[in-house]
Amino acid sequence: MSTVTNLVYLLAAVLFIFGLKNLSSPRTARRGNALAMLGMLLAIVITLFDKQILDFTHIIIGLIIGGAIGVYAAKTVQMTAMPQMVALFNGFGGAASALVAYAEYVRLSGPPGMDVLITMVLSVLIGTVTFFGSLVAFAKLQGIIRGAPIVLPLHHVVNGFLLLVALGLGGLFVFDAPQGAFLLAVVVASTMLGILSVIPIGGADMPVVISLLNSYSGMAAAATGFVLSNSVLIVSGALVGASGLILTEIMCKAMNRSLANVLFGAVGTDGGGAVAGERRPVTEYTPEDAAMVLESAQSIIIVPGYGLAVAQAQHVLHELATILMERGATVRYAIHPVAGRMPGHMNVLLAEANVPYDMIYDMDQINEDFQNTDVALVVGANDVINPAARYKKDSPLYGMPILNVDKARSVMIIKRSLSPGFAGVDNELFYDPKTMMVFGDAKKVLTELVHELKG
């Protein structure tokens, strides 16, 4: 690698860091993304001048195919489908790292150093796990395979065994003989490991899984950087690895669960289960009655959840909020960190519906204000508002920080049925005398509310 190439790589790494730094505020975030893009462009262009490249045919083919797929996917994906899109892109990043490491093995000339072999195995292993894990996450989020945990007998034993096999084969490859068969066997073992480690994880735990896979894709890139002794790969991989780890930790904290519990707990249902035990009376409101309640409310906090994304109701929700504001009410949005299927999922949906970001509050910013609020309007959220998390020690939700919706003067919940949330736990709040249940599809109910308030 020439000095010029190395310096341009350094510049690219610096641009990546500045790009991420600019993401600390929504005002500068777009510029930050542009800086990172510029860094990537510089790194790609300078690489094309590398003397090792003799033939551009395959490069051009690859860039065209990949570019076309990337542009198409990015332009057409719906904001509600963002979690699976990110999972898929992530998987391709992991696959690329594994493929580069494998190609590097194929074109080895002369006996490589042990450090190269070790990082080669790691890159192939992590990259393959990332790719297949991400594919499973994509399939679950897209509804191709069911979202509920799929658990095999002795699942964790099998996974542990697979990891040992992959590492053992890698060890043979490094210390015994760098034969292709061993590396190929590592690929097979990591493929199974990638699939089997994500398949037992249920829908609402997806934010953790996606964050973790994000981190893996960074680690895979860094490992490939070690193989190629390429510092820009190492720096970028480390940045992404750190980012994914931070998000993973934030998500786990927001559910009060350890990473091990998320990965191995197989918690959850598909969210459609029947309510256990006898039916208790609830206070049911029609949209007309609900509209009258909202009409007289001075302060409203809206709590969106995954159900909002499913019903694609973000636009009509904000239409309702706008009408209420025009009538003089204070309206704010409260977002739980794990609402939706990936970190920040709800924020993106609301941004799409033109909700100004200064109307959107994080849990810590707004939780004290519920007690002074007339109506907490819950749309498609369940577990993140379940008061059982505070006191019911045997509940799977126990200890999870929740939005204090139950402290509001009254609570209005728009929901299709009384079915429990993802955790499969009944919600006390539904039966609280101050809770108004409005049954129906979120989009339909909100449209009726808008109609009532306009009329």
């Binding site: 690219a12 990546f16 790009g19 991420l20 993401l23 600390s24 929504p26 005002r27 975030a29 777009r30 993304n33 893009m37 990537m40 690489t47 003799l54 033939d55 395959h58 690859g62 860039l63 990949g66 990337g70 542009v71 996917a73 963002m82 990110v86 892109f89 391709f92 990043g93 696959a95 690329a96 190609a103 194929v106 150093g113 450090d115 994000n214 894709s217 895979a220 890139a221 860094a222 070690f226 193989v227 510092s231 790969l233 190492i234 720096v235 970028s236 940045l239 980012s243 994914g244 998000l247 706008t322 504001m325 977002i335 920040g344 924020n347 993106v348 799409e352 033109n354 970001y357 200064d358």
Partner: protein, 100 residues
């Protein structure tokens, strides 16, 4: 252990610290764009992929390299574009206007 791998490990560890410093400052509001944007950055493997695809060593390494270029380009192009699409939507409240 060669000297270069030690230098690489230094770079790796220090970059992780930089990552932690920079990324803890990203507000939850922007966590999805952070994820898709950082995702695109991890597509930097493309520089390795370009060399594998273009070096013309053997049939297999060219095939693997070309596949790697495809995967990495999807990751890079798709990741950055979708991040830009999202970030474009984040707007503060304009005084005096409620909806466009």
């Amino acid at each position: 252990m060669t000297a270069s791998i030690i230098v690489s490990i230094y770079i790796f560890v220090l970059a992780i610290f930089v990552g932690f410093e920079v990324i803890t400052k990203v507000p939850p509001l922007l966590h999805t764009p952070l994820m898709s944007g950082s995702n695109a950055i991890s597509g930097i493997t493309i520089v390795g992929a370009l060399i594998s695809a273009g070096a013309g060593h053997s049939g297999l390494s060219t095939v693997l390299g070309t596949l790697a270029v495809i995967c990495a380009t999807i990751n890079v192009v798709g990741g950055f574009l979708v991040t830009d699409r999202m970030l474009e939507m984040f707007k503060p409240a304009k005084k005096g206007t409620s909806q466009p």
